[in-house]
Symmetry: C2
Subunit: 180 residues, 2 copies
């Protein structure tokens, strides 16, 4: 039986944090279950958050009127995405399970994780206009949102959603759902 793979997209600055502990517990538990576990430690990687033309190698299709999504879609087709994005996409392709581990910032994911969503989930790779929602490219994947909230009563709540195009959307949607 082929080994299953999990990807943990992790966004906390401190190895001493509860988020780090939650990540470590997840790595241990999944490894025990036979998973190969990949971790994208976004702050440690100094992961670029902003969607810019630097994400594309070579010439832009329309440098006079830069539209990020369009340029990225073409660059993905041509294999001209920046190395850091290509690497995250490669991890994501392998993963049957994706866990987003983060502290809640302003009722949502931290900017560095929003940057992962904005930059890695390229049209063509992660969805097409035909392949989204119930027909999504990643519908076989599962995602878990695992986050902590501020204040003295830090909480750790997991949730599972189906992994079609709703995976990234639910980073927002489920977060808000959690919050009522």
């Amino acid at each position: 039986m082929a080994q299953k793979t999990a990807l943990i997209v992790y966004a906390h600055q401190s190895p001493a944090s509860f988020n780090a502990a939650a990540r470590d517990v997840a790595v241990q538990a999944l490894t025990k279950q036979g998973y190969k576990v990949l971790v994208s430690d976004l702050y440690a990687m100094n992961f670029k958050a902003s969607a810019t033309a630097e994400d594309i190698k070579g010439d832009l299709k329309n440098p006079e009127h830069f539209i990020y999504n369009n340029e990225m879609m073409v660059a993905w087709q041509d294999g001209r995405l920046s190395d850091d994005i290509a690497e995250e996409q490669h991890k994501l392709e392998q993963a049957e399970l994706v866990i987003f581990q983060f502290p809640l910032y302003w009722f949502s994911i931290p900017a560095i994780m929003k940057g992962w969503i904005d930059r890695v989930l390229t049209q063509g790779f992660a969805f097409t206009l035909q392949k989204m929602y119930d027909n999504g490219i990643f519908k076989a994947k599962k995602a878990i949102l695992s986050f902590t909230t501020g204040g003295t009563e830090s909480m750790f709540k997991p949730d599972g959603v189906h992994g079609d195009i709703n995976v990234p959307l639910c980073v927002q949607h489920s977060t808000l759902h959690f919050l009522g």
Copy 2:
């Protein structure tokens, strides 16, 4: 009568974009109405999106267990926030009106704008545990979300929300509200 001030927090990579045109129209209209208009052009500023220890000058309160919000609150009290954050806070203090101008990325603000929210709205400066929601520090301010959506039917929709602590929250909340 004192001159009124507006701040436009703007997040598009291209001067040829519809977002840029919307920004320019807003600048013109507000100037005509007697506003002093400040613009934070986040991509042009190469605005740092990620919340890191570099946002704090001098020693950390608890370097062994870095908690961004706590460190930022103390740094704000002591005047030790990084210059880029202090500058944005200074703009925000002056502004009676704040306009967020952006293209929608994954049903939300682009990461670079989430970075502005995460980094600029420091506890103490933007809210306290006593001063939030209806009792918010910025309740006299007004905010407008102005954004474009992808696809061929690009849309431009403005909305207004009250400017207490709901200002930043509504960047998320109103966006989702817009979307149903």
